[in-house]
Amino acid sequence: MDGRETLSIAVRSLRSHRLRSVLTVLGVVVGIAAVVTFVTVGASLKADIVGEVEGSSANNIYLLSTPAEDEGPPDAPRPVFTEHDVAQLRAVDGAVQVVPQGNLPVSALSYRNDTVGRQQVTATTPAAFEGASFIAGRPFDSGAREIIINRQAQTVFDRNLSVGEELRVTRRSGDTTNVTVVGVVNGTGTELPFQSFVSQARFYFPTAPFYETVVESPTLGVNQRAYLQVTVVADPGDLSATQAAVRDYLADSDATTLQPGGYELSARTSGDIADSLEDLVGRLTRFVTGLAVLSLLVGAIGIANIMLVSVTERTREIGIMKAVGGRNRDVLVLFLTEATLLGALGALVAVPVGLAGAVVATEYADIGLTVPLGWVGLAIAVGLVVGALAGLYPAWRAARVDPIDALRRE
């Protein structure tokens, strides 16, 4: 039987049972659309991570003191990096810039008559803003009563906060200070990557004069400012050597002595962090996609089910085809074509639906959309294969129908 005739008969059979064909296709649509959505969101997330790393932060080495894996209670990170450490790190070969960062204990922020409670208030140095993308204004000056805010912080108060406005800061100690907003940024150049995933309002204060967290430096024996986190901006050509040198220094630093038991110092590049994040995203994507594949399986069972019903209903037709010269193979191909059509229709509808889902999800998560074309193509192929596989057994049953029995049926 030629392909065109087979297709024509198959389409007519499907159309003669429109509702149940549509419902069967819907079963496939749900499965494939879910797969397309999840792989697209996963790919978009990965692309976002890579983009983040490839940006200005590519040469950053992040120093942190965190609890060693699976050890001890997850205490809050401690400020263990002293001014001495910062000074020593500046002397490391390949270190272009060293930017310390700490949390400023603030109990309230007021703008005009509106006061908000605790906010994420960070103390850092002007160098933090060297690679930053400014929406408005300029970096603050060290020692000045100036601050920088991020985009999200503009809308924290009743009225939009912009450059030139004055804020009143209530310190944990109860003291109040007035500061002026001098810049609005999209994140800093040196803060830990992927902070943009957390769309949190941030306020950046200069360490001088505001940052007052001090510890006694074990090396020098004097009280010094101590920071939660230090970012070393390395010479682009020398990233791994610089990372090694930083690790060397850390082994014998104030931070090592100061950090509590069970804590570990790490000096990781954006790439290192991206790798582990990508790994995590990849695992999550695979897991969720696995669930979606399960629903695709349900769709396949739907096709198999409806095709079996169809074979039973059309036993007589099969008998007729065989009586007028149809071979087993012709019948097999006809039913396979119908099943494959159901799968293909499902895939065709599912791709735009799945992509629409991905667009909504990435909009919501505020990340760029990356369509993994290969995966989408694969989803369509899977639809075809699922249809064909699901139709295999029913089609085989159809091909084996005995024409004498079939024609005797009423």
Binding site: M1, R12, S16, G319, G325, G326, N328, L407
Partner: protein, 243 residues
């Protein structure tokens, strides 16, 4: 057994054919040592009560069934030695079935139904369309080409079925109680059409349990309990018959 033997090459020949079925653990002998030959252009009726084996005989000639013993030859080909694929080709090319219940494909139009055997024979689209239109015109349905079976009367459906049976120009036309599902008048028309086809030179094998219908043939083969009881030659009223 009975052979009129005046044609050197019979279109259909059964030689010592036996067929048994297993039915609920019991062995039923549907045909026992049946021999029969249909000369080219002959019109033969097989008559017998239900269960006599006449349908089995038709299925064997039509290549739907295979004999347990003996040989069935259609158009010079021994069906026993053929593969399933080759038997399908015989069904589609050498024989044309006409059934009691018409057996048209429900979603195909008249012309598509008639063209269906040609699809399986690998004819091109244009060729089969032309042939199907021609055959439908022959049976007087040239104006019903694109009607679906549900839009046709019983008599018209049976005529479509006859046109389909004739589409590949088969060696023999097999009609199984062709008037069983239509009223008497329509039945007469159908039988008239078969008479005309016979007159035009087609070899016809008719299966029926009605004497009145069987009398259209030139020869009546009486079958009972799987054996040929007797073969009765009639005075064929149709000119050009095989007698």
């Amino acid at each position: 057994m009975a052979e009129t033997g005046h044609t050197p090459e019979p279109v259909v020949a059964l030689d010592g054919v036996s067929k048994t079925y297993e039915l609920g653990g019991e062995t039923v002998e549907a045909l026992a040592d049946v021999s029969l030959s249909l000369p080219e252009g002959s019109y033969t009726a097989v008559m017998g009560p239900s269960g006599s084996g006449k349908s089995t005989l038709l299925n064997l000639v039509g290549g739907l069934d295979t004999p347990g013993d003996g040989s069935v030859t259609v158009g010079g080909r021994e069906l026993g030695g053929l593969s399933e694929r080759e038997r399908a080709a015989v069904r589609g090319g050498e024989v044309g079935f006409v059934f009691q219940t018409f057996n048209l494909m429900p979603r195909l139009t008249a012309v598509e139904n008639v063209a269906l055997p040609l699809v399986f024979q690998g004819w091109s689209r244009d060729e089969r369309r032309a042939r199907a239109e021609e055959r439908l015109a022959d049976v007087g349905l040239g104006d019903r080409l694109n009607h679906q079976p549900t839009e046709l009367s019983g008599g018209q459906r049976q005529r479509v079925a006859i046109a389909r049976a004739l589409a590949p120009s088969p060696a023999v036309l097999l009609a199984d109680e062709p008037t069983g599902n239509v009223d008497t008048d329509t039945g007469a028309q159908v039988m008239g059409l078969l008479d005309d086809l016979h007159a035009a030179g087609n070899t016809v094998l008719l299966v029926t349990h009605e004497r009145r219908i069987a009398e259209h043939a030139g020869r009546v083969v009486h079958v009972r309990d799987g054996v040929v009881e007797r073969i009765e030659d009639l005075d064929d009223p149709t000119p050009g018959g095989g007698a």
